[in-house]
């Protein structure tokens, strides 16, 4: 049985990890079942819902579709890695502040995707946020408060950028 396992080394939430994984295991199963990181959720298992969204080399992907062996040599960030030493990540805090979380099951994926969008699109518009979150389903919130939370962060970063320009 061990012949089917492959050793991989990658960076997970800033720390190097080395482990053996079955060749056809998906990254989601590796995170949850082998590494005990259960923040990333399994829901549809086929890339339709986004609950399993993680960040690999700076880009978000559905971890249910990604082969664990393909993590080799890459940098993986999960919802557990988003937390800062001071507490919640600003995106997490904004979701809390805007009441964007109800049952919470989709939230790890939603927040990973929101963080990716904010990081890569300075001045993200509400419409761009809607398009960018198309791959994340939520059955509770109706998305309005999610978009409010994202929008609030855009405003803040715009202000910060403007303040930076004014100071220089």
């Amino acid at each position: 049985m061990t012949s089917a396992e492959t050793e991989i080394i990658f960076k997970l939430n800033g720390r190097e990890v080395c482990l053996k994984v079955p060749v056809t295991m998906k990254t989601l199963a590796m995170l949850r079942d082998k590494l005990g990181l259960t923040g990333t959720k399994y829901a549809c298992g086929e890339g339709e819902c986004g609950a399993c969204t993680i960040n690999v080399d700076g880009k978000t992907v559905n971890s249910c579709l990604m082969y664990a062996v393909d993590c080799d040599g890459r940098e993986v960030v999960t919802i557990e890695g988003l937390r800062t030493p001071d507490g919640l990540h600003p995106v997490q805090q904004a979701f809390v502040d805007h009441g964007a979380v109800q049952c919470g099951f989709c939230m790890p994926g939603m927040i990973m995707q929101a963080q990716y969008l904010l990081e890569n699109n300075p001045g993200l518009s509400r419409e761009q946020a809607r398009r960018g979150l198309e791959g994340n389903l939520c059955r509770c919130t109706g998305y309005t408060k999610v978009l409010d939370a994202v929008e609030a962060l855009v405003d803040r970063s715009k202000c910060a950028a403007a303040a930076g320009r004014a100071a220089s």
């Binding site: 998906k26 992907v61 579709l65 062996v69 398009r131 198309e134």
Partner: protein, 289 residues
């Protein structure tokens, strides 16, 4: 093949990958967005080896060499969407990438994978067909890399089936730089704009001059076992003045090209209707410009 016995290989060089494939017993992995659900559901079986091609050097870029545009097989759909060069040269491809699945899937899914999956609904296919694209297939033969090219319209033979041999790897899709007066349009449909497997898709490409279209290519998706060139529609448009009568004739001809079926996503009647609506819309749009 028992999943517990599959050997894994992540190639760095093309020749290395092709030698692994030479016995025809390797399953190719790139983004995994089709392979994972297909193998999980059991609709597809793994071969003895799982070959990851994502790290192969030289397969992941979009380049213009002279008048030829080349999109490497492992280029992600997200990279197509972001490509300033394609936005300039072939905006129809960027438009198709724009509404391809979701951001997370676009970040993983490869252009080569979308072609090799050979779905009648593959979103990158109709735009590439109207660009007159060909696919480049490589294999290991007689101790060397051998390449052949196949026009994309002859690549597909049925749902999930292509002319590619088990020993072959699709390395790139290539097309000639479109003429300055080339125009193209793409439309797809489904109940929501994202994560939708097209109920119908349609692409138009042609040279437009003096109110007439020439070198007309029309491609349709999800109306037959493979994406197809709509030859009757093309003939109804070729060289004609793009007026109300020509558009009506082209729309009427669509029924001779589209042979849709009923399935879970749409009825044959609806697909037949929608493909005519799309055709009429894109032709009116071109005429209006």
């Amino acid at each position: 093949m028992s999943e517990t016995m599959i050997a894994y290989l992540a190639a760095r060089r093309l020749d290395e990958a092709l030698q692994v494939m030479a016995d025809g017993d390797a399953t190719v992995l790139c983004g995994g967005t089709d392979l994972a659900p297909q193998t999980e559901s059991g609709s597809r079986q793994y071969k003895a080896k799982l070959l990851n091609i994502r790290r192969i050097e030289g397969l992941g870029s979009i380049e213009a060499k002279g008048d030829e545009i080349r999109i490497g097989a492992t280029t992600t759909v997200a990279a197509v969407r972001r490509s300033a060069m394609l936005a300039e040269i072939a905006p129809v491809l960027v438009e198709a990438a724009e509404h391809f699945a979701s951001e997370q899937i676009r970040n993983a899914a490869s252009v080569g994978g979308n072609l090799c999956n050979a779905s009648p609904a593959g979103d990158m296919i109709p735009p590439l067909l109207v660009l007159g694209a060909s696919v480049e297939l490589a294999c290991w033969q007689g101790g060397a890399v051998r390449m052949r090219r196949i026009p994309l319209e002859r690549f597909f033979v049925g749902p999930g089936k292509t002319v590619m041999l088990a020993q072959e790897l699709l390395t790139a899709v290539v097309f000639d730089r479109p003429a300055a007066n080339f125009i193209a349009r793409f439309r797809k449909s489904g109940p929501r704009p994202a994560l939708e497997i097209s109920a119908v898709s349609l692409a138009l490409g042609a040279r437009a001059a003096g109110g007439r279209l020439s070198d007309v290519r029309v491609a349709m998706g999800s109306v037959a076992p493979t994406p197809l060139r709509a030859r009757h529609v093309e003939a109804a448009l070729e060289g004609k003045s793009l007026d109300v009568a020509t558009i009506a004739a082209a729309v009427a001809a669509a029924g001779q090209d589209a042979k849709p079926i009923d399935d879970v996503r749409a009825s044959a009647w609806y697909r037949g209707h929608l493909v005519r609506v799309f055709l009429e819309e894109v032709l009116n749009d071109v005429r209006g410009n």
